[in-house]
Amino acid sequence: MAEPMETVSNIEGKATGNRPVAASLTNAFVKFGAFTAIENLSLNIEQGSFYTILGPSGCGKSTLLRLISDLVPCASGELKVLGKTTEEARLAREFAFVFQDAALLPWRSAIQNVELPLEMGRKRGVKIPVSDKTPAELLELVGLKGREKSLPHELSGGMRQRVAIARALVCKPKLLLMDEPFGALDEMTRDHLNLQLLQIWQETGVTILFVTHSIPEAVFLGQKVLMLQANPGRLREVVDIDLPYPREIKLRDTQDFIKYTSYLRELLETC
């Protein structure tokens, strides 16, 4: 292959270099009873980068995001998020999560859903970070100006997911964890949201970890694709996507793009 493919050991060595680290895992294990969901995972997530995560089902893609966001405990090994433990990072609102279904509260309007993170956590010792953008401005950023008062059931699936993204950004996180956020949307909406997400990423400089099932989506969005393998969940390979930003939809028809997708497809079959 002509592309600069890197092995696990390479990326580990490289990430300790110049760029600051958003999250680092060293020999991390996640176990659910006797089942090992993630085995011996070592990885550095560089700050400001866009990572997409691919892998067969059961490879621990979602578990990896849940590990970083302090939803599942680390059985052994070490894990730091922006130099803190996951709990400290959670209390500092260093990261935010976007779920597969938007997980909006149906009785709250779009803007009230965006405001939710500002209303929760004080009792547990969260100092809620002040964002430079108001909830209304964030809704404008995701293209929902004028729909502030709409209830979730009055919005389309794509719009709901955009509200969820605005909600994730309201505390100005440094790390955005996205678990197949566009998986349930039709292709047109998905393309549109992909472009919008890239724009948000470039505007805010947030680090993104994006789980997806779609190989084209992974290549289109990511600077690096983390390929995980199943049974047990391990990191198979980190693939650098050497395609320039800003990216446009027609990029998908180029030879370079197709080279990456076919390489990843072959790789996925062996995972």
């Binding site: 849940r66 209303e119 979730p152």
Partner: protein
């Protein structure tokens, strides 16, 4: 050509509009017409077969009784109304609080749920005399009986409602480091409201049944007492009028809850 098409389109549209209007009228007219026919059959049936008034009064007699005895009916309406409403509040409040306890503690649920099921299996008519013995012939026994009949459906619905929160909403709350109280007030309780209202609609009609049954066991005022009194005195027209009054009370409470539901639950 285009003119004809537009003409045809307009015709189709007009016909559709007429069909909708016809369906709307039918939805009201059909049950209303059936009711009128039934009332007329009843009216002429009792006349034709010479059924004595104390066995089955004609609708006209019931209507006259309803108007002439209206103050007596209202005198007995209010006690039943208070008993039913107080029972509704007490029974549902107890059910909601117990449901909250169940959701927060599996131990409480395991301890109390079988007992709640057992109490629910006792027919209200069987348990009413026991409660009157315990609480006396006053207001308390009636409120307890009316409350008891509301209790179980609300308990079951409310538990389901409080548990109806999606896994992702709870994960979101955890990522936001929400406290238990924040999760309860901002997520669990609002999620449970649609379930609560479907239970309250059941309770709105059953609490009236509870109050009337309680009055049968021992009361000198109230619609239940009036039903017993008019039955034993063969005042059938008054009995029928009282029954309509009782059903009116149920309809009123049901409508109140339905309106509250529509105002509160907009999602």
């Amino acid at each position: 050509m285009t003119a004809t098409t537009t003409n045809i389109d307009a015709q189709i549209l007009e016909e559709e509009r007429r069909a909708v209007r016809r369906r709307k009228i039918e939805a009201v007219a059909l049950p209303l017409g059936t009711l009128i026919v039934l009332l007329l059959t009843w009216q002429f049936g009792v006349r034709l077969f010479g059924v004595p008034s104390y066995i089955a009064p004609a609708p006209s007699e019931v209507a006259i009784e309803f108007v002439t005895k209206f103050s007596l009916l209202m005198e007995n309406f209010w006690p039943t109304f208070y008993e039913a409403v107080l029972g509704f509040i007490a029974g549902n409040l107890a059910a909601v609080l117990l449901a909250i306890a169940f959701v927060h503690s599996r131990t409480v649920e395991r301890a109390f749920f079988p007992i709640a099921v057992f109490i629910n299996t006792i027919p209200i008519l069987a348990i009413a005399p026991i409660l009157v013995l315990i609480f006396g012939a006053g207001l308390t026994a009636k409120v307890v009986i009316a409350g008891l009949i509301c209790f179980f459906p609300t308990l079951v619905n409310m538990v389901r409602g409080l548990q109806s929160v999606s896994e992702q909403s709870l994960e979101l709350a955890r990522i936001l480091s929400a406290s238990k109280a924040e999760i309860f007030w901002k997520i669990r309780l609002p999620s449970s409201l649609p379930f609560l209202f479907s239970a309250l609609k059941i309770a709105a009609t059953t609490c009236v049944i509870g109050a009337i049954v309680a009055e049968w066991v021992g009361a000198d005022a109230g619609l239940g007492a009036l039903i017993i009194d008019s039955t034993f005195n063969f005042r059938s027209a008054l009995l029928y009028a009282t029954v309509f009054m009782s059903s009116g009370l149920s309809v009123f409470l049901f409508a109140t809850v339905s309106i509250a539901e529509r105002l509160i639950i907009r999602w």
